[in-house]
Symmetry: C2
Subunit: 429 residues, 2 copies
């Protein structure tokens, strides 16, 4: 019995040779004298021609089958090759009719239907390609960091205190005691900078989001980076630039981008950077606005494209008042009263994609920052131990995987690119 | 100002050149006329010689510093090179004395002390190297699978039903409704086989383990693999073999193995395999034993080494009664009454390391298996939908990262190789 041939390798198989394929019946089309069976495997589609004279019994769509047959050139077939004189053997019972039509070029069912039937709907080649963009992004993210001295870390998702932001945490019954699901690996990745200097983590983060919007999920994948011995947030931004270049390269090389017809953005050699105060002025917002509204982000995206030919623009200097306690004030600020920070948001095509910046690194600064927010530094004792015992100037960022993929493929709703989304209403499948 | 030089690159720096180093004061040793400063960065240690005549002020250990000085050959120094005529600039306030002595060759503090002070204790080069073994293992795992047609997936950790085993799940308050933390990605990775054929995931899994032992954690990292179109569990075992070969290669290439003096095992071209019934006979256990006791596993490990020169041995055919409902019975079993399964445990040096096997793939078999355990198939409706709509014969396995690393570095307790372990008693740091 010949070894398995993948659909994607068929165009290079010698015509006349006998091959063995395995996959799903993607489409079965019975004509008067011939049945076309389109077989789907992980690499693509293959056309199988079942003529009269041999058994025309082709199992229903989505049944898994093995097909042994002859490689035959046919310029009309996908890849210029089809399988003739096949023997079709089912690998399991006949499949029931799928809840969504997977053989049509586009998935046209409504989002709730797709989500309810995720295990089947994700088999559609266009939907599958969206996750391939995600998987390629993960590969590019790690490859860039592995090549530049970063160490992957794994930090706990069960935590004892609802720190960092306090709100929106999920409570867990931890052997009868309260625990919480980590909203981010922030406090742990910083501690690991003390060990490895440069760390990254890909993992789930949990937000008990009461916002029922297209851009919020209760569980998502965070691509976290943190690095020591930086001068300021601009060094962090340079790493972010390289990471996004690695991610876009991997997406471009994956094949999924082509199949989806994506315009994968060019990552410039350096991101255009604008200060928050200048950004407000540029978009005509009042100088005392504490944040950028969606229309401001859109206008900045248009400005970046018009002025710099860039899909990306970094806004630096966000007001300290809107940033977490560990945020480093703007270099040169008066002690204790900084208005601006050494932090940034990166906008991609006019939408916020990444938040990052420099963090505090002196123990005394942490104590002051935590007390200034009316909290007790003792709550953070084990985290602060890292700073009492020597930490370098450092900073980092976090990229939301689903948000990145949604922007890249032009999906309006994060749920369209998340295999099993979790939100206020949805905990299944 | 010269760009930063890493300690590991010093041996190749031209003698007489001026370099800039950054790192931690690993050790400060004040002699009568000279102070030795050993600087630690992510790549290793560098010796800095501070002589009388220049400032002898060296900050205390663990303070982060920048050192600018001259590269000078000295056969007695680590790497044959030291830094002379240095300028030492602290990058932060003087560090407090660490709770464990990081400059000693070995960390001698008791485990609870190390765990309580994890952020600092992990800075010790020997401890840090243990995690580098973990990080290298992750790289090798992914590289092997990326090269053989696998797709990385991310499956939800918040789930709606306490399925699979029922016991030992953590309950979460999910917007006022009950939810649970996933004990494994098993049911989701199988569904994704229907989409991508071959999938893997690295992620946290959660077990509300009431066992307070050296080999149980409440949260650990599971390296999950699942693949379709297998003949039986032997195809799964062949992939596991390649994955472990990739992991050991990556560990060998990481440098950490050498620094720790590890004997990284040779992965044989194929694992020796013994049937569960034969294993019982070999170790002299009664033929009706449903499981292997630790002393049986040890004996099998010795047998594998003596007979096959292998650190690994696979035991196949585990009794169906001890395996989860989705387990495929042994090929050729009588319908409905199989005693043995197409599943395996892989033992590494006489300890169970990996569990895996072939899964059921027919919808009707799932319904029967679930009902036979007294459960209602409706509980599993969304999972079973994948099987109603066509799934291939498939199987997979899961490797516990911490367990793998502990075995490799010879740590008796998983907590020794887990940066922030979670168990019955420990939820911090």
């Amino acid at each position: 019995m010949p070894v398995r041939t993948l659909a994607g390798d068929l165009p290079t198989a010698p015509p006349g040779s006998v091959v063995r394929l395995q996959g799903w019946v993607h489409r079965r089309r019975e004509l008067a004298t011939v049945t076309f069976l389109v077989l789907r495997d992980r690499t693509g589609l293959a056309q199988v021609v079942v003529r009269s004279g041999v058994s025309r019994q082709v199992p229903p769509e989505e049944t898994t089958v093995e097909v042994t047959g002859t490689v035959t050139a046919n310029p009309q077939a996908p890849g210029g090759v089809e399988i003739t004189e096949p023997a079709v053997t089912p690998l399991t019972d006949a499949a029931e009719t799928p809840p969504v039509e997977l053989w049509r070029p586009a998935l046209t069912a409504a989002l709730p239907t797709l989500l309810d039937h995720a295990a089947v709907a994700w088999r559609h080649p266009a939907q599958k390609a969206r996750w391939e963009v995600a998987a390629a992004s993960l590969r590019g993210f790690r490859a860039t960091l592995d090549a530049t001295g970063f160490t992957e870390v794994c930090t706990p998702k069960l935590v004892g205190t609802a720190t960092e932001s306090g709100a929106n945490v999920f409570a867990v019954d931890y052997f009868g005691r309260p625990a919480y699901l980590a909203q981010s690996p922030q406090l742990y990745k910083q501690q690991m900078v003390g060990v490895f200097e440069r760390v990254y983590e890909v993992g789930p983060v949990f937000r008990a989001e009461l916002h029922d919007t297209v851009r919020h999920l209760a569980e998502y994948r965070s691509l976290d980076v943190e690095l020591g011995f930086v001068r300021d947030h601009r060094d962090v931004l340079a790493v972010l630039r390289d990471v996004l270049a690695g991610m876009t390269d991997a997406v471009r090389g994956s094949g999924a981008a082509e199949r989806l017809g994506l315009e994968v953005p060019e990552v410039p050699a350096a991101f255009p950077v604008i200060h928050f105060a200048d950004a407000l002025a540029l978009v005509g917002a009042p100088a005392d606005e504490p944040d950028l509204a969606p229309e401001h982000e859109r206008a900045l995206g248009e400005w970046a494209m018009a002025e710099h030919g860039s899909d990306f623009v970094a806004v630096e200097g966000y007001p300290m008042a809107k940033r977490p306690f560990y945020t480093h004030p703007e270099t040169g600020s008066a002690p204790g009263g900084a208005r601006w920070s050494n932090s940034f948001d990166l906008l991609f095509r006019g939408l916020e994609l990444v938040t990052g910046g420099q963090r505090l690194h002196r123990y005394a600064d942490y104590v002051a920052a935590i007390e200034a927010r009316g909290e007790d530094p003792a709550t953070y004792a084990s985290y602060l131990a890292a700073f009492r015992h020597g930490m370098p100037p450092h900073g980092g960022f976090a990229i939301g995987l689903e948000r990145w993929v949604a922007r890249l493929v032009g999906a309006a709703n994060l749920r369209e690119v998340t295999p099993f989304p979790r939100d206020l209403h949805r905990l299944a499948p």
